[in-house]
Symmetry: C2
Subunit: 201 residues, 2 copies
């Protein structure tokens, strides 16, 4: 019994690595099997088809990418520590799974309808509490007038883009692996300042 869960879990972990790196059409069932250290036909025994295995991985990835952040947004923190926490949460996630954001972005654009259906099914909504927090700050004169959705999109974009654009950044600004890593580390502190300045009155 524990054996069964273990194999299934090993497959899912291997599939996650391969799919996130190569995407659905670039991934090979053989490579997933090798990565999991098992036979190719086991993949079909456990998940029937490449598509079904992919769906599992994709849905789990979406669950990591969005709700975690919305949880932070809807927490009870004040604006400043909340943004700091948000940036930190994202960069911790990306350190462990550097291909996660590109994977989600690429695949949700390949099948937008399937994506929409799935996300609506899992009950992701506009982070209402955060929206109200922003509106309150604006009304209190603490913050410039901005649409909450703009603010959310800008914040997530500023977190995600440097990870998506890693090869470009390394090339144009002539960074090696170590320098890029330092760049991301420094950014954890600089980015919240940039974001908060943009809306500070």
């Amino acid at each position: 019994m524990p054996e069964e869960l273990e194999t299934e879990e090993q497959i899912l972990e291997a599939a996650k690595r391969v799919f996130q790196e190569q995407g659905f059409s670039g991934a090979r069932m053989q490579e997933i099997a090798d990565e999991a250290g098992i036979n190719k036909s086991m993949l079909h025994y456990y998940f029937r088809s490449k598509d079904k295995l992919f769906q599992k991985v994709f849905q789990e990835s979406v669950r990591q990418f969005f709700p975690v952040i919305f949880k932070v947004l809807n927490s009870d923190l004040a604006l400043v520590p909340k943004i700091e926490k948000l940036v930190e949460t994202y960069y911790d996630m990306f350190r462990q799974q550097p291909h996660l954001p590109r994977f989600v972005i690429h695949e949700m654009n390949q099948h937008p309808d399937r994506f929409k259906e799935f996300v609506e099914g899992m009950g992701v909504e506009v982070p209402e509490k955060f929206v109200k927090q922003i509106e309150a700050e604006i009304e209190a004169g603490e913050m410039k007038s901005i649409q909450p959705q703009e603010f959310i999109i800008n914040t997530i974009g500023l977190c995600v883009f440097p990870v998506l654009a890693q090869p470009m950044i390394k090339t144009v600004f002539q960074m090696n692996e170590e320098q890029y890593h330092q760049f991301l580390e420094a950014r954890k502190k600089e980015l919240p300042k940039f974001i908060l300045n943009a809306v500070k009155k």
Copy 2:
């Protein structure tokens, strides 16, 4: 003679559409042939292999994505109109080729070494003039202290992300095609303000 150029150009245009939408591994030579209205074997006659055809398309896409923007950055405009021009240039580009940024991001991550070699070969450098402009503004006390590379990355990220995340934005904020289009239009005016506020002293 004009015929030959025409066919080759038709193939490249078709390949551009299919590759940008589906990526290298997702694209099918048959689909490119259909899209170009010609026979499948013509693709090999003109470009020998899928990989060679892809390289052509990818390199042209990279040439669109980067240098156009660096040209704006290195122009003689003052900071404010320069940022406005930059945002406008990107969104004009994305309206014509909505899949361009995702394509470049996905594929440069699939083959970072090949990408680096190619970009270095085409002589893209840090936009020095813009870097000096920012340093001058900071020294004059007009602008908060920020690393020029941070500023460039933030600006491009803020332009690109809403296009990459289209399905997510539509779903979470419940927009239809028309509303998403309005959102992008409004953003052309709002985004420069956001960026400039973030660095204004």
